[in-house]
């Protein structure tokens, strides 16, 4: 009997137990082939089926119109920080960036090498604790695109709405809240998401791109860095991460059984409500990091009265079967990452400790 852990890791993060069980059960023999999914050719009919199912899972769950392409790539969201401007930003053009946290800032910095980057909103001066209202954003009329990060994992702030930039294509790093809620897909030109939070294991990044953006590339690039080539080859311009694509397909199936993004959104909202309520009712013992209008439902960040108590809390949580709660070194405090696969029972377990800990140390 293995010990039971509530895993609050920010990513790589908890995966659905049912998915892990199935993956373990058929690890050496996928679909009666007598082989592991890791051992079969990416050009085989069997892997072709697995890839097609992963793609159709994404298409259904994101409600993708036919003019959006689905790519399964390598290099994570970090490589997308560069691939987006490489492919969409000409040296003479401008791209708008909204910076609401650590990752959005990094994305903007990576784009500078490729064209004119304009930060049209930044909450850095106030410590990345909020997001703008829709009306606050002044999009540059001729921007090649507008980039934002829908959820900032380190800071714990999330956009509660789909940003609208009119005719300017919206590019969104959705790594940490993809498929956690319903979105209006037609508001987006390009969405990318590292898999290791809501989609599967690390080593895979999902890119959803509107077809008209495939032909914009303003410079010659290696094939593997060119969206058009990757799309023309259906993610098989080289050998893809077959294992991760297989698992992403299983995660999609699991999510469909939970009612898809709309269904899981209710669960996620409830998990977040319970946790933020514990913060709000603690008489300030637990200080939520994000402003209320920008509170992330994926990464709940808060701090105790001092760093010593933060550390003591993390230690007690570990001793009580809760791992991964230490805040990112950039901001300190506590971070509870509660992605799709994380159960309400784990949040309740955490809230119990918070209440008990505050009584003993308050």
């Amino acid at each position: 009997m293995s010990k039971h852990i509530f895993n609050f890791s920010a990513g790589p993060a908890m995966m659905p137990p049912e998915v892990l069980e199935q993956a373990a059960a058929e690890l050496s023999d996928v679909r009666g082939s007598g082989m592991s999914v890791m051992e079969i050719s990416h050009r085989s009919d069997l892997f072709g089926d697995i890839l097609a199912e992963a793609e159709s899972g994404i298409r259904r769950l994101m409600n993708l119109p036919s003019n959006y392409r689905v790519l399964f790539l390598q290099g994570g969201a970090t490589l997308q920080f560069s691939m987006v401007p490489m492919n969409l930003l000409a040296p003479v053009d401008t791209a708008d960036y909204i910076v609401t946290g650590y990752w959005g800032k990094k994305a903007a910095k990576c784009a500078v090498a490729f064209g004119d980057v304009k930060t049209v909103y930044s909450s850095e001066d106030t410590g990345f604790t909020t997001v703008p209202e829709q009306g606050e954003i002044r999009v540059s009329p001729n921007a090649a695109y507008l980039h934002y990060t829908s959820n900032e994992t380190i800071d714990g702030v999330e956009f509660p709405y789909d940003l609208d930039a009119g005719l300017v294509p919206v590019v969104c790093d959705m790594s940490s809240d993809v498929l956690s809620r319903s979105i209006d897909i037609e508001k987006y030109g390009l969405i990318y998401a590292g898999a290791q939070k809501n989609l599967g294991p690390s080593g895979l990044v999902l890119v959803v791109i509107r077809e008209d953006l495939l032909d914009r590339s303003p410079r010659a690039l290696p094939d593997l860095l060119t969206y058009k080539v990757l799309a023309d080859n259906d993610s098989m311009a080289n050998t893809p991460n077959t294992w991760a694509i297989y698992l992403l397909g299983l995660v999609c199936r699991w999510l469909e059984a939970k009612g898809g993004p709309a269904g899981i959104e209710q669960v996620n909202a409830e998990k977040a409500r319970v946790l933020y309520e514990a913060i709000d009712k603690s008489d300030g013992f637990y200080a939520g990091r994000a402003e209320r209008n920008a509170r992330s439902r994926m990464n709940v960040t808060f701090a105790l009265p001092n760093a010593e108590l933060d550390a003591k809390f993390v230690e007690e949580a570990e001793a009580n079967g809760m791992s991964g709660l230490k805040g990112h070194r950039a901001v300190g405090g506590i971070r509870a990452s509660i992605y799709n696969a994380f159960p309400l029972a784990g949040v309740e377990h955490l809230v119990d400790l918070m209440s008990d800990f505050a009584r003993r140390n308050g």
Copy 2:
């Protein structure tokens, strides 16, 4: 009871059954953590141990001196086709390429965008059936590097020696024969190898680079495409493919138990001997593709008297529990990929069919 398959796939390819069994057994609970290796932070102490063990496995098996760095990256060998010239070839400089097959040709083509590329040897005119002798290569005296592909998976030709380029750094795509035999590591400046043949699953590429090559980059590049940055961050400039690194570590341990490259080399030589002997003794029914001095011990390529018989042979092999024998579409015929994890018993099974099939169809 799952059916037994001898999997001759060229890659992704067969993995050691013992490795798959261990991976399945601890898929949901690695090392008593209560979590899957896919669920733990890449910055956790536990994953730090796993990464360190994978690296030390490679260091021992390749007998790496301390001035060589080990990188675990994404994007496969294909992205290395571009990263090598991006990092090592200035626009005004020349890189030498030896082209002995499909992949070497592709690597040379990818380099053209970054500097002067000189093909110092090509066997394309004679159908990629041989490799040069050491003495045949005239290295450009001021070449930034000399690139070659030690084993060509599609054509089935392999260098039976470590190429020496004197003071010019040798860059070698060793994707399909890495760790299959002893090498003299000091002959190489940079070795890269997609994992999905001899090291583990797809989605991971091993790069071994001599430290003096880290500082050569002649151009500004995104961090994730810069060897120096990747080395400075110990493969953690972004979230690596944690699952594949874990498996590579298990494969290294398995290989050490087999006596390392020197031990497995004897097994590989015997597997290849048995198979080539069956070809040579078939009175021409099976025609080996490669010249004898260049025969690959990893990918044995041959053809039957016509394409119809090729197809019939593949079909009968499938019916007899042997998969993945169809040759690459670029060359046709039959390809038996017999990497480290492939057992001699599978080769003997194939040879039995070859003998029987020739009798019935010869």
